[in-house]
């Protein structure tokens, strides 16, 4: 780390902390407006049906209803989507997944509307369901979106060398199939948004919106107004993790349509059940890996075939699966690779962006496989990784040479195994034979041979996983960010960026960067409200790109303004041409003359001289390229590296896996806010442990079973014991002093590390997440046969 930093790398308290800790911070549902109405959704309990008619006659004259909104009321485009326009704002022909909305009742009593909506009569015909993604591409499969021509959303591939020849040259071949479940983001704040009609000025929208500019684009297209007539303001966001994008764009559009029709502010807020029902989720993957390797453990060929369940709509599937295809071989240099990833339509809840974005799934498969290779050869998990690890100058599976940054894979691995004393523990715990007893389903009474000695009940295990991750969007699209900075004549500062605070602490990070560049304190910087009418579009807040891209823009803005200030300091204080002016601790220094002035005095001076002290900083990513046809290219302009070690206790009687410790070593480049960075690790690891051990959405006849936190379990304070974050700060020239990405890397490794630890503890490999009780004890997933739940029926 650069030792000259004065605030970067310190533990800085969140700039929105005071408002949040006192309950004053306004989240989307905390906003109220005069004459505000509510909107309530009409759905049917079906995952695939043709809509014949909707009859509102019983309720249309009811006084509690101000308006009924259907597809016919949508003035602009009727279907939308982040990549493909396949998702209706209101369904009028078919529903293709149980969250689909047919119409909306608007009125001032939400409770009454919820009763009335049950009286709308929908006549529909059930259609055959596709819930198994592996069958979506079968010849006889019904087409979910007939105009797409097939149920294929996208097909990506990467080819390097010749895998078949590589397998011939290999001493050993292993082939395995792994699966991962459907995962809910489970942000604690459910979706909420209010649209306020502004007459000729269009509409203003305040909501729990992750990507205000994406929402603006979609709302404008749906209500058929130019972009400048749609103003989106982001309320404090109660968590997102990638999840408040598509859903919030559509809810914003629905609220806008209703607000313009009713000519009143209209609020939509979801219950937890509606949130889980309609919001998109993380893709389930079915992953087949075949690997050929030499006696020494060098991987010679890897062939990967992945099917991703995209659910009913394309959403971000093309980009999510693109990251998978680029990274599926893991952080290893392999001569012969053939990876194919297909995302398909099914009638399951649709899937899109979620923290990790196409990486947690292949990492689970790939890192499980690496351990299997090690066990097969009788070497340690560390050795197998070192033999194959990416290093400076390595060529990735897509043909990219890794250069211009520290390729710190082996460094993070070494640091992690040392911190956790991995090698010794792994050898001590290692089980050659499975300890869990096979369960006989035909004879469920426990037999003598299934008796477990009490002292054998709890088995300890340790496991590790490593990853590399391309930063920001890569070849997905244009990658730029902007930041507005304005210095007042007393030395205080306004700051705003086009990226959005999702709870991760981005605003604080940006304030630190601006403060560092101006030599002032983060507390002197006032972060303005995120509003699409005040700042240029900076693309979405996704892909752990804020610190890197937005940070680059903030630094650029601060350096433009400090340059102007330095110029007048030289003139005013008659400093020589070669002298160097610097700002520190609210003071201005000349290298030759020392302390020259106070920062605030220079600001006042600049003001009196008519110098412009406001600017928009800008950061554009270095170019990347991708050739979809050959599956080759420099996919991302830089990468980050991580290693996590999991230590677990497995109860082989009950199947319970308890996480004793996760050592998480990450190289995110320069750490800007230590407090925020540690927070990303704790939170990401905890979400990753939920993914490993118990989270999963299941369906019955296409309908979701887990609609609230009584059934969809996320980690509580009691589920994980110790998490130890460790940072290796590799050098990089990009962004703000080489600060890169952290939010997603922290999550993507945990499930793989835990799974390897469980293998170490019980001697048996598990191929299907989550590793819940029944998976460990019975080797299969159990689900209730019928959906019986009060809330929505």
């Amino acid at each position: 780390m650069n030792k000259e930093f004065s605030v970067v790398g310190k533990r800085v308290i969140r700039e929105d902390g005071f408002d949040k800790i006192t309950g004053r911070a306004k989240f989307a549902d905390d906003y109220k407006f005069d004459g505000m109405l509510y909107a309530v959704m009409l759905r049917i309990p079906s995952a695939h049906a043709k809509i014949n008619s909707i009859d509102f006659s019983e309720i249309e004259n009811n006084e509690a209803i101000s308006a009924i909104i259907t597809s016919a009321d949508v003035p602009g485009i009727k279907k939308t989507g982040l990549i493909k326009n396949d998702q209706p704002i209101f369904c009028d022909e078919k529903v293709v997944t149980p969250g689909d909305v047919l119409a909306m009742l608007v009125g001032n009593s939400e409770n009454e509307l919820r009763n009335l909506v049950k009286k709308a009569k929908v006549d529909y015909t059930e259609l055959p369901l596709i819930t198994d993604p592996a069958k979506a591409l079968d010849q006889e499969a019904i087409l979910i979106h007939p105009d797409n021509g097939s149920n294929l959303i996208v097909n990506h591939h990467v080819k390097k060398g010749d895998v078949e020849k590589g397998f011939e040259k290999s001493d050993h071949i292993l082939e395995q199939t792994y699966t991962t479940p459907l995962i809910e983001h489970a942000y604690i704040e459910p979706e909420a948004v209010t649209a306020i009609p502004l007459g000729f000025n269009g509409v203003k929208i305040i909501g729990s919106i992750q990507n205000p500019f994406t929402a603006r684009r979609i709302v404008a297209a749906v209500i058929n107004l130019p972009l400048d007539k749609v103003q989106i303001i982001q309320a404090h966001l109660g968590g997102s993790f990638g999840g408040k994008d598509d859903t919030m764009c559509i809810l914003s559009a629905r609220a806008a349509v209703a607000a313009l029709k009713a000519n009143c502010p209209v609020k939509i807020r979801y219950t937890r059940e509606e949130s889980i029902l309609e919001s998109y989720k993380r893709h389930p993957y079915i992953m087949n890996y075949k690997v050929g390797f030499s006696n020494s453990g060098k991987i010679i060929a890897m062939k990967i075939n992945i099917i991703a369940d995209g659910g009913a709509y394309a959403s971000m599937s093309p980009f999510v699966t693109w990251r998978s295809v680029v990274q599926a071989t893991g952080p290893y240099e392999i001569e012969n690779v053939h990876t194919e990833v297909r995302a398909v339509y099914t009638n399951n809840p649709y899937t899109g962006a979620m923290r990790g974005f196409g990486s947690p799934q292949p990492i689970f498969a790939n890192e499980s496989l690496m351990d299997e290779i090690a066990i097969h050869l009788g070497i340690s998990p560390v050795e197998i990784r070192k033999v194959n690890a990416l290093k400076n100058g390595s060529i990735t599976a897509t043909g990219q040479k890794l250069e211009n940054h520290d390729v710190n894979l082996i460094q993070v691995l070494d640091k992690a195994i040392y911190a956790a004393d991995f090698q010794n523990k792994w050898r001590a715990n290692k089980k050659e034979k499975p300890l869990t007893k096979e369960f006989d389903f035909n004879n469920p009474v426990l037999q003598d041979y299934q008796y477990v000695e009490p002292d054998k009940l709890i088995q300890k295990g340790i496991g590790l996983a490593v990853s590399y991750r391309g930063c920001s969007l890569g070849a997905e699209g244009i990658d730029t960010a902007s930041a507005y900075l304005s210095i007042q004549n007393d030395g205080t500062v306004y700051l705003l960026s086009g990226l959005a605070e999702n709870g991760q602490g981005m605003r604080t990070t940006f304030a630190i960067i601006a403060a560092e560049a101006l030599g002032i304190l983060p507390e002197q910087i006032f972060y303005l409200e995120t509003d699409t009418s005040r700042i240029p579009d900076s693309g979405p807040t996704v892909a752990s790109r804020s610190t890197l891209m937005g940070g680059g823009a903030v630094r650029n803005a601060a350096e433009i303004l400090s340059g102007r200030l330095k110029k007048i300091v030289k003139e005013e204080f008659k400093l020589s041409e070669e002298d160097v002016v610097s700002f520190r601790e609210n003071l201005v220094f000349s290298r030759k003359k020392g302390l020259t002035a106070k920062f605030s005095e220079v600001c006042k001076l600049a003001y009196s001289l008519g110098i412009n002290l406001a600017t928009i900083g800008y950061y554009k990513s270095p170019s990347v390229h991708w050739d979809e046809k050959s599956g080759h290219g420099d996919a991302y302009f830089t990468y980050v590296y991580g290693c996590q070690v999991a230590e677990v206790s497995v109860n082989i009687g009950t199947g319970e896996v308890y996480v004793n410790k996760i050592t998480a070593v990450h190289d995110p480049g320069t750490v800007i806010n230590k407090l925020g960075a540690e927070g990303q690790v704790y939170g990401g690891v905890t979400q990753g442990a939920g993914y490993a051990l118990f989270e999963g959405i299941t369906t019955e006849k296409g309908l979701i079973r887990e609609l609230n936190f009584d059934q969809y379990l996320i980690p509580t304070s009691k589920d994980i014991d110790v998490i130890k974050p460790v940072f290796v700060e590799g050098k990089d020239s990009y962004g703000a002093w080489g600060a890169k990405s952290l939010g997603e890397p922290t999550l993507e490794l945990t499930a793989a590390a835990i799974s390897n630890a469980v293998r170490n503890a019980v001697g048996k490999r598990f191929f299907n997440l989550p590793l819940n009780l029944e998976e460990i004890v019975l080797g299969k997933k159990l689900c209730p046969q019928e959906v019986k739940r009060g809330s929505l029926q």
Binding site: G17, G23, I188, G238, N502, G679, G683, F709, S717, S791
Partner: protein, 156 residues
């Protein structure tokens, strides 16, 4: 309609309301105390936690009518104007707040714990907030903040 009299954040209040609404709605809609959040509506997430005579309860599971004669404290009543309580200050210092949606409930659960058990063990802290879900922080910083507060209060 019923009229309820109770103490809300230290002040005696009286309000006339429909009898069937939840305490959560009473606070958010009638008193505009929007610091109390709704995350699940079924008693699982703890975002709606308030203190009822010093005990942490899920206000989504309590009927408004139950507060008659009780003393209710919400997040708005925890600080002294702009002066943060030691618990609030430690939450910020330890990075126990990210998105902040679970925060009011967490603070109140922690306040109830420290009131009843001034010197809690780590297990007791984890138990006290086990009914408060947080998807952002991973809980470590929250546990640390509570531990530190207990320590400070012991010294005093």
């Amino acid at each position: 309609m019923i009229t309820l009299k109770f103490i809300l954040n230290g002040k005696e209040v009286s309000i006339t309301t429909e009898p069937h609404i939840r305490l959560l709605d009473l606070l958010r809609d009638k008193f505009d105390l929007t610091g109390t959040k709704e995350g699940c509506g079924v008693g699982e997430c703890g975002a709606c936690t308030v203190l009822m005579n010093g005990r942490a309860v899920n206000s989504c599971l309590a009927l408004a009518a139950q507060v008659e004669g009780y003393e209710i404290v919400t997040i708005e009543g925890i600080s002294n104007g702009d002066v943060l309580s030691p618990l609030q200050k430690n939450f910020l210092l330890h990075g126990a707040v990210q998105c902040g949606f679970c925060t009011p409930g967490m603070v109140l659960s922690a306040a109830a714990l420290l009131d009843q058990t001034p010197n809690p063990t780590e297990e007791e802290i984890k138990d006290a907030i086990a009914g408060n879900l947080c998807r952002c922080t991973g809980y470590k910083q929250i546990v640390d903040a509570i531990k530190e507060t207990a320590k400070e209060l012991q010294v005093k």
